[in-house]
Subunit: 230 residues, 2 copies
């Protein structure tokens, strides 16, 4: 029998690839997504399509209210920045950063893992194209895993819990090539921070720019429907 794993599934390229890798490594994925006051349900619909594509055993959608404390253009009414040069490696943290988002998401995954008696969590964080988010750094993940093992019954019982980050040191192009090898249908995924009403991607936000460049660098056709052709 396969080992259970909780896989955080946002609906984007990285988490879809992560889910494929969990399956390829013999895990039975339990997908977890969040409804957190995002501007668009497009993202959650993509997560549902991907969960269904991979035939996950269970897909838990947790409703939480990150709008309660604001602080990010993804959960408030600030504008999403457009046409930025994401290659300059600026140390500035963009306003699309949601405070403590990965910490909160991993904490719910931890609770579910404990209930499922599963010792493996997959998260598609990435330190290469991470857009300057502090909670995508490898040292954050290592510290989280250590804390998680002290937080739970599993930790008390001496069975250790692993936070898997198979994409941590890959570029977007490498992720797309790897996922394509694993049969991921990237047409099901969604990346745009500011999609049109029909779900088309804006093509100009950080996330669209990184996505387009990833497909171009990988030499794989981009299946995304963009509002603006660039």
């Amino acid at each position: 029998m396969n080992k259970k794993a909780v896989v955080l599934l946002s609906g984007g390229i990285d988490s879809a690839t992560c889910c494929a890798l969990a399956k390829r490594n013999g895990f039975e994925p339990y997908a977890m997504s969040f409804s957190y006051g995002q501007r668009h349900s497009v993202e959650l619909n993509a997560a549902r399509r991907i969960a269904s594509f991979f035939g996950v055993t269970s897909h838990s959608i947790v409703e939480i209210n990150l709008r309660a404390f604001g602080g990010s253009s993804l959960t408030s009414d600030e504008s999403v920045p457009k046409h930025r040069d994401v290659d300059t490696g600026t140390p500035e943290i963009p306003n699309t950063y949601v405070p403590a988002r990965n910490t909160i998401f991993l904490s719910f995954a931890l609770g579910w893992a404990e209930v499922l008696e599963c010792r493996d969590i997959f998260i598609g964080v990435n330190a290469v194209d991470y857009s300057g988010y502090p909670d995508c750094r490898p040292e954050f993940i290592a510290a989280y895993q250590k804390m998680a093992n002290l937080a739970t019954k599993a930790g008390v019982g001496g069975h250790s819990l692993t936070i898997h980050t198979p994409l941590l040191s890959l570029t977007k192009a490498q992720i797309i090539r790897l996922g394509t090898e694993c049969g991921v249908d990237y047409g099901l995924t969604h990346s745009c921070y500011d999609p049109a009403d029909d779900g088309s991607a804006c093509g100009a936000c950080d996330s669209c720019i990184i996505r387009k460049k990833g497909f171009a660098d990988a030499g794989i056709p981009d299946p995304t429907r963009y509002v603006q052709l660039s």
Copy 2:
């Protein structure tokens, strides 16, 4: 001007005392409570009374759904254990343990602290009367603080964040004496896991037993209204 601090406020003795200590130490408390599928709103009403008693600047009540993954008698339909001997120091974790609860609560506090640009979080955990919960141990808090400093912009900027646990090594009686010195009105607090419809405490669950013993050991009259007089 006082420094801001996020104070986790459950409505019980410990968090009320913690809030009093934050104020006494010159912090301006921002209270945070959770509506997480508890059986009773009695607990949240107590949190509201205490926030008002201390005149906190803001009281954020975050709705989250811990019922989504079950696993505890406090969030599911299992029975709360009664009349247990809480003094035996059994290593068994009771079924009132909510998976990853403190991890989840601290993660929301961390997000709010980041938005408020505040570097101090107070949580009333206690390693003496902790009922066997792994996420009340000092090593958990230390690991959490280390992770939190890697998770956030504050961490990136080199300003460190502190998780204050002023009750960590105190007995319930010591907490009650300390809070009484600080003017806490414990009549506003609520501890019972299984209250009657009118809010009276059952007197028999672990939490009631620990509370009663705390007042008795402190030599301070217990202001609680119990259903059963023992």
